[in-house]
């Protein structure tokens, strides 16, 4: 590991740094400084992920026993099995729906934040960021309190004499909960992409006779597309891989890729299959990323 660092280090002198320290000592110092993080990263990130990739080509012999030979069995049994195909398609569709809802819910907040100033803006930002830093378990629990049979919404419906609805332990609950969980990410991504939105441009459109509605659709939306693309990428990727919320709000009745990975890894102990499903998640990530960069090139 340290050899790799040494090889990637140039003497500070060549980059226009201070003289007085030789090339060898600079390389040695940089290696020393980067050594610990390279070690942690290599041992607990690169190595495990590479191992996971290899494992997806090995056979499970029941329990946590793994065969020695390499095989495509896991890949063929997931990619040609109607259950897994359905699982993958459902995961993607559900994630897309959640992404769309998250965008609709986040856009007004982001636009409002973009147009507010000073302490008020800081306060609103704290409101956006605080949920991000609050454990997903806590927020999911809050949704259980709202959506449960004896929760806020159903008790309100009952008070109005409306029949209670099943909002939890099904896909409805998962979609509502995840939408809220992902909103802070979407809002921050939108804000980052709102830089091009200059109020002067909107005013120019108004002086040219555009109604507020027209200004919104013809000026604001196109100018904020980079932020929208980034936010959607982030939300989609997080939705596909989210686990806590689908598990708790789905009550074991909603099956998505992430929950299946956990079950295969912890309950069934079929690690090669779990590894294969993980790789499929990564492939979906890669596809989303490619789509995103295409989209970005198209809108800018």
């Amino acid at each position: 590991m340290s050899a790799a660092a040494a090889a990637t280090t140039q003497p500070a002198n060549a980059a226009g740094e201070r003289p007085g320290s030789g090339m060898a000592s600079t390389v040695a110092l940089a290696t020393l400084l980067l050594g610990p993080i390279i070690a942690v990263n290599g041992l607990a990130f690169l190595m495990p992920v590479f191992n996971l990739l290899l494992l997806s080509f090995r056979e499970s012999l029941g329990g946590s026993t793994i065969g020695e030979a390499y095989t495509l069995a896991n890949w063929s049994s997931t990619l040609f099995d109607s259950y897994y195909i359905e699982l993958i398609v459902q995961s993607i569709l559900t994630s897309l729906m959640i992404t769309a809802l998250t965008l609709v819910a986040s856009y007004p907040i982001a636009l409002y934040l973009h147009r507010s100033k000073g302490r008020w803006r800081t306060f609103l930002l704290v409101l956006v960021i605080s949920p991000l830093l609050t454990s997903a378990v806590v927020r999911t629990y809050g949704w259980i309190a709202i959506l449960a049979d004896d929760g806020l919404i159903n008790n309100m419906l009952k008070a109005f004499g409306v029949e209670a609805m099943r909002l939890i332990f099904n896909k409805v609950g998962v979609v509502i909960g995840l939408t809220e969980i992902l909103m802070p990410y979407m809002i921050l991504a939108l804000l980052a992409g709102f830089g091009r939105l200059d109020p002067r441009v909107e005013e120019a459109a108004e002086t040219l006779g555009a109604s507020p509605w027209k200004v919104f659709w013809r000026i604001v939306v196109p100018l904020t597309m980079p932020g929208v693309a980034l936010g959607c990428l982030l939300s989609f990727v997080l939705a596909v891989s989210s686990f806590i919320t689908p598990k708790l709000l789905g009550g074991g009745r909603v099956f998505l890729l992430a929950t299946e990975i956990y079950d295969q890894a912890i309950v069934t102990l079929n690690w090669p299959l779990a590894a294969t499903l993980s790789m499929i998640v990564l492939v979906i990530f890669g596809a989303a990323l490619v789509l995103y960069s295409r989209l970005l090139r198209a809108v800018i």
Binding site: T8, T9, A12, A15, R18, A30, L33, L34, P36, I37, V40, N41, A44, F45, M47, P48, L52, A105, S106, P108, L111, Y112, R115, K117, T122, L125, V126, V128, I129, S130, L133, T134, S135, V138, R139, T140, Y141, I144, A145, I146, A148, G151, L152, E180, P199, S241, F243, I244, K247, L248, A258, I261, Y262, A265, W271, A274, A275, S278, V281, L282
Partner: protein, 264 residues
């Protein structure tokens, strides 16, 4: 620049969505003071019984202790590991520094469920499953990207001329770092420490793969409790977590500026 007036329609839409965003977090506060023995909202009466029950719940209290100790150790280690790395990347202009930074922040891009599984399999072979050192290493992997990002941003924001001035005044590189660079990085370091603590303290998914009956963290204990019964005990724990989060957010805002840390 003049403000553009915010239209009432936007105000209303933003307000409704803010309510949606904050509802679950806000709702746990009244529930934690419920007198009911199961969760319902609104509660039929108010009491402190769930806080008292929490004090008597040895599993939750034990997990709280584990999580706190874990978060403190991870915070310290993240600082010790990330600070030299940030210095090497920013100040020594290591070749491929950008690539290294991308590599070190890559764990953030990987879904935690995949990362958790990958670490589980390797740790199982190394005997690190359900051990404290195992949890420390796994948490470091997800905390280090945050720490490195905040520290490199903080360091590259510092004008180098103060350090040059110190060296022309006779300070050796180590003295320059200790007397000039480090004190000027203070806000960034506070933000790093706070964020590291919080990320470790709140981490649930990877911990879920690595904990067991012998050792468990608070988010995992909480998750497992909700899986079985969603009673107001969880709300009491949640309120404690929210208060802690808020305290950390305030610290970061006061020292480093919240906006600067999270919004580019």
């Amino acid at each position: 620049m003049e403000d553009r007036p915010v239209s009432p329609a936007l105000k209303i839409a933003a307000f409704v969505m803010f309510a949606f965003l904050l509802a679950p977090v806000l709702l746990v506060v009244p529930i934690s003071f419920s007198a009911d023995s199961y969760m319902s909202f609104p509660p039929s009466g108010w009491s402190l019984r769930w806080y008292i029950e929490l004090m008597d719940n040895s599993r939750m209290i034990g997990a709280l202790g584990t999580s706190t100790l874990l978060a403190v150790i991870v915070m310290v280690l993240a600082m010790v590991i990330a600070l030299p790395a940030a210095y090497a990347i920013v100040r020594m202009r290591v070749i491929g520094g950008e690539a290294l930074l991308a590599l070190f922040t890559a764990p953030l891009l990987l879904p935690t469920i995949v990362l958790g599984l990958a670490i589980l399999i390797v740790f199982a072979g190394a005997g690190l499953l359900a051990t404290f050192p195992g949890l420390v290493i796994a948490h470091l992997i997800i905390v280090l990207p945050y720490a490195l990002r905040v520290l490199t941003t903080s360091l590259s924001g510092l004008p180098i001329i103060m350090e040059e001035a110190a060296s022309t005044l006779g300070a050796s590189p180590l003295t320059v770092f200790r007397r000039i660079t480090l004190p000027m990085m203070m806000p960034g370091m506070v933000a790093t420490a706070a964020l590291s603590f919080l990320v470790s303290f709140d981490e649930a998914v990877i911990s879920l793969f690595l904990t067991g009956p012998r050792i468990t963290t608070l988010p995992v204990a909480l998750y497992q409790h909700v899986e079985n019964q969603a009673d107001p005990l969880v709300a009491a724990v949640s309120v404690l977590l929210i208060v802690l989060t808020l305290a950390v957010v305030l610290i970061v805002d006061r020292t480093a500026g919240l906006t600067k840390t999270f919004v580019k």
